[in-house]
């Protein structure tokens, strides 16, 4: 397989991955880069069609609420999650594709838990 073919297959795989289980379109998300923020968990919703994390992020003495859209448990369970993976009040670090308009939050990519363990939302994928 040539490099182009591999790249093509990878792009295709990513496109399919992005469309799978989307309940709505995700235009408005900056897929070209990620942001990483550290904060305190306010809510961790384990649910359909999306799970989500709501987190308090304090910067320069100001606290903002960040929301991260996640895949449903049918994806998270094979990626090593349970509903108690993230606990309210814990300090965690979340990496996400942020919003183009600067809305605090975005599409979840990965989390670093208080014990240093990192989890993504798809089994067998770096991101």
């Amino acid at each position: 397989m040539t490099t182009t073919k591999i790249l093509g297959a990878l792009v295709l795989a990513l496109c399919i991955g992005a469309s799978a289980y989307a309940h709505h379109s995700a235009v408005g998300v900056d897929r070209s880069k990620t942001v990483t923020v550290e904060g305190v968990v306010k809510t961790f919703k384990w649910g359909n069609p999306h799970s989500w994390i709501e987190m308090e992020v304090t910067k320069d003495g100001k606290t903002e609420l960040w929301n991260f859209e996640m895949l449903p448990p049918s994806y998270l369970i094979p990626a090593g999650w349970t509903r108690s993976t993230i606990k309210i009040g814990e300090k965690i670090k979340v990496t996400a594709n942020g919003m183009l308009d600067g809305t605090p939050g975005g599409i979840f990519v990965s989390v670093t838990l208080p014990d240093g363990k990192t989890l993504t939302q798809r089994a067998g994928r770096g991101q």
Binding site: S19, H23, V27, G28, V29, P49, W52, E54, M99, D101
Partner: protein, 262 residues
């Protein structure tokens, strides 16, 4: 109670009875039994060529995009152009599904979500995991409801019949607002949308071929034909998946100020 009062009371009672019984009368005039009425289920019918009962998932490999040379009507092009402009600016145009409007057909059958199907002699009940949308395909020989009394819906009215080894499903009576043929591209659905699906069972019952032909003269010229393949997934059940206000409060893609809602 005198005779006149008694007469008025009797007329009132008769009118009330007529109103209460109106739905029954309508059903009787239609001459159809409900799909799960024992009498309907028990009617003698030829053995169907296959049974769709099972959980099905298509892998999204067959992209649902307009065919080459696709021409939109001027009314539909307004939405298409607005969606292209919004996408180029990183915005979202009329994100109705994100705002909890039902996806409807064809999106129920094109977006990657599992669909559980239960086939009876008189109907196939399809339940999509996407917002638990219910679609019923009637197989009991009834015609489409008269458009003058049919209630338009997002999934429309589906009537199926067998042609050899193929199940042919004809669907009409769609709603014409907040309903999309392709939401990301801004291609709306109108009340003239007509969908014909030709379904074949492959690989000993483990794979479905679904050829879908869309026409909607208020939206685009000609036919839009595409084929999707569904795989039987025996390790899946349908979960409760509802679009809820508190879900949307936490979805930055729905809450974004840049979304074009009207």
């Amino acid at each position: 109670m005198n005779t006149s009062q008694l007469g008025r009371w009797a007329i009132g009672a008769l009118l009330l009875a007529a109103i209460v019984r109106a739905p029954d009368l309508a059903a009787q005039q239609r001459g159809t039994l409900g799909a799960v009425a024992p009498e309907n289920l028990a009617k003698p019918r030829p053995k169907p060529p296959f049974d769709l009962t099972g959980a099905w998932l298509h892998n999204g490999n067959e992209r649902f995009d307009p065919p080459a040379g696709f021409v939109l009507t001027p009314e539909a092009k307004v939405h298409y152009d607005a969606a292209q402009k919004a996408t180029a600016e990183g915005k979202l145009y009329r994100n109705d599904i994100g705002l909890c409007w039902p996806a409807g057909l064809p999106i129920m059958m094109t977006r990657v979500w599992p669909v559980t199907m239960i086939q009876l002699p008189t109907a196939v009940y399809m339940i999509s995991e996407l917002m638990n949308s219910l679609r019923v395909v009637y197989l009991d020989g009834r015609p489409h409801t008269d458009p003058d009394i049919a209630v338009p819906s997002f999934n429309g009215e589906s009537i199926g019949h067998w042609e050899g080894d193929t199940l042919v499903i004809d669907t009409t009576n769609f709603v014409d607002s907040h309903h999309w043929i392709h939401d990301r591209l801004g291609i709306p659905a109108s009340d003239a949308l007509h969908i014909v699906e030709r379904v074949k069972m492959l690989e000993g019952g483990n794979r479905l071929e679904m050829q879908i032909t869309l026409t909607d003269p208020k939206v685009f010229k000609g036919d839009w034909v595409f084929t999707k393949f569904w795989n039987r997934v025996n390790n899946r059940d349908i979960a409760e998946v509802e679009c809820l206000p508190d879900l949307n409060d936490h979805m930055p893609t729905v809450q974004s100020e840049l979304n074009i809602r009207k």
